[in-house]
Subunit: 396 residues, 2 copies
């Protein structure tokens, strides 16, 4: 039984200039450019194995050990169609190229983090799907070209095709051919930048971002002003701050843009809320920590979880502060934060009255990670997710 197979991982990215609003919902063309930091796959990643085989009778998909329909997922179908068409072009030009474009495929994908935690898995998932397809089909595309395909799976996925600091340029063309990701700086440019992800407990499931952003486009009087007058300048300033490794400016822009994203959600009718009282306490705590100079930046995506960016040297202090207000969380100390650290003292001059101490588990988990590289190719023989029969090694 001959088959062709590729296995890859792709990272999560957390935007510091937020994407919110589409000008074309089927091609996924955004109303504004955005910019993100790619987080280390050592802590968070999607992993995907794709096998093409003449023995397969249909395309099949398993996500986290559960089989899902491919046909019902128009965005996934679009990614498959585009990459197969590109493979067919290669086969048409080169007779020696294996005829993969006509074979059925099995796709098996897993996240190494619980989907229930509310961490955006669609970005890493679609980036991994498209990257793995490109490796399977040996497509001669660079990461920006691939980002155009990944964008059609999930908008923010396009930014997960690069490591480091990544801009999604909104583009102007109707066909979306200029709406793609570019690397602003690699992860090696600013190795000092780290992140704490605070997984916040929430009773209420929020509006999906797909629905939410189009309701904002339709009803918010403030969004157009953000799109036209705020984001273009903010993108330029953010890129300059990254090039200069100017953390205070990077942090200020990050916090302002997170605030404004949630402001346009609130200006939506009916309003959309993603942050809760715990999220807001984290903002107050970080604002207090920054009162004598900016040492950390919070940002919130379409959910209550906080991501706190800071230089490595501040992380111990920030973790001590978070531990004071949020007892009973699980902590993944993958970067050795607590090593040789027996004392967790709050900074002097910190006014603890900015927030009450929350009850056990208000913040469920804190993950320590950092800016890191883009998708990685793994050895399928050793790390592949499919067994000899082309079925998942692990089912849920």
């Amino acid at each position: 039984m001959t088959f062709f197979e590729a296995t890859c991982t792709a990272p999560v990215n957390i935007a510091v200039v937020k994407y919110w609003g589409k000008r074309d919902t089927s091609l996924i063309l955004p109303t504004n450019s955005s910019l993100s930091v790619t987080l280390s796959q050592d802590q968070l990643h999607s992993k995907t194995t794709i096998r093409a085989s003449a023995d397969f009778t249909s395309d099949r998909l398993w996500l986290n050990g559960i089989e899902e329909s491919i046909e019902k997922n128009k965005r996934l179908v679009a990614c498959l169609r585009e990459t197969r068409a590109l493979r067919a072009q290669i086969e048409a030009k080169d007779e020696s190229a294996p005829k993969l474009s006509g074979l059925k495929i099995h796709i098996c994908s897993e996240n190494n983090f619980p989907t229930a935690a509310g961490l955006a898995s669609s970005a890493s998932g679609y980036a991994c799907l498209v990257y793995t397809l490109s490796k399977l089909f040996e497509l001669p595309l660079n990461a920006s070209d691939l980002s155009i395909v990944a964008r059609q799976g999930s908008g923010s996925a396009c930014r997960s095709l690069f490591g480091g600091f990544v801009a999604w340029e909104m583009g102007e063309k109707e066909d979306g051919s200029d709406s793609r990701a570019v690397q602003v700086a690699p992860e090696t440019h600013w190795p000092d930048l780290q992140a704490l992800i605070c997984v916040v407990s929430d009773e209420k499931k929020g509006t999906s971002s797909t629905e939410g952003m189009q309701l904002t486009v339709k009803t918010s009087a403030l969004l157009q002003h953000r799109i036209k007058n705020v984001v273009p300048k903010r993108m330029e300033e953010m890129i300059a701050a990254i090039h200069n490794k100017d953390f205070p400016r990077f942090a200020e822009l990050t916090m302002q843009d997170s605030n404004q994203f949630h402001a346009v959600c609130l200006d939506t009718y009916p309003p959309i809320f993603y942050m809760n009282d715990i999220s807001r306490a984290i903002i107050r705590i970080i604002s207090e920590y920054n009162k004598d100079g900016i040492k950390a930046a919070y940002t919130f995506d379409a959910g209550p979880n906080a991501v706190i960016y800071a230089p490595q040297q501040n992380m111990r202090e920030i973790y001590a502060i978070l531990s004071h207000y949020f007892p009973g969380h699980a902590f993944e100390d993958s970067l050795g934060l607590k090593k040789n650290d027996t004392v967790h003292a709050l900074p002097q001059n910190f006014d603890t009255r900015v927030s009450p101490v929350f009850s056990q588990g208000a913040v469920k988990q804190i993950l320590h990670t950092k800016a890191d590289d883009g998708p990685r190719v793994l050895d399928s023989a050793q790390y592949g997710l499919l067994n000899a029969e082309g079925l998942p090694k692990r089912l849920a």
Copy 2:
């Protein structure tokens, strides 16, 4: 012992197009026009007695039974100076007019609602002060003229000088002489409009509105768009909705403007939050109640308390819904809402999953009130707050 005395009450008003931002902080000139509904003094009012007497040796002030400094309160000093100057003009023209402008005064003022509840008392308080001074001094000013004086005490106080529906026209002049309140429609125009005030429990005291609004003016990229492009049109539409007694349109504009006010607070840096998880649950609950047609409008000022406007006929249903989610509140049934009402059923088709049921006392109190008249003159002999010696009858 001869003295001159006046006793008056003045109402609270709750804006439906919000005031947020000053273009002149000492004259209290706003960055945009605003519009409010005056609520009945039968439920909420400030009451003030002012006495002028040759026996008094200094100006004195008691607020809710506690003596306060007048000199330290620049805004109060400005209101006194302006009204005394107007009185002096009368005395200069008419020799028979008693020489009140040179006499010391005692001011005694009380609210019939707890200040701790977070209901804005500065609007009713300053409106009552200025109205009572105008009666004491027999000033030949109409309510709009007086509103210019009251505005310098507390911006939103200018709107409490009228009953019914009141616009504060922002004006253009540097001296503030055209920044004043006008009545859009009297309370008798729309007697059907009622309100439920939900006093929400909150752990954290928010930013004062005086500080908060200027931080928004300084740092929000969205505020200028609101001021220039949103509010002028919204004012016109709101006035039309009131003239037409078009509740759905009135409600929609009210909710959108409340949302946008809190959106610009969130776009402030550092962000300002007034609503908490309970406030947001109330928004979700009212949005669900409105899903098949608008039957109620929420609005939130600079605090977590909700005011819900609705036609009288919907109030019983709204109260039943609020009672479901917020057990253990005190209810002031001054308008006979519960009379002959043994069943509090939720509306059919209401999806109760929009919010969890909160624990006892999350909403502490619900007050039922309605649109009503402006300041009232009372008989000092019967209702005055000062005793024969010119001291408060009641001290705290």
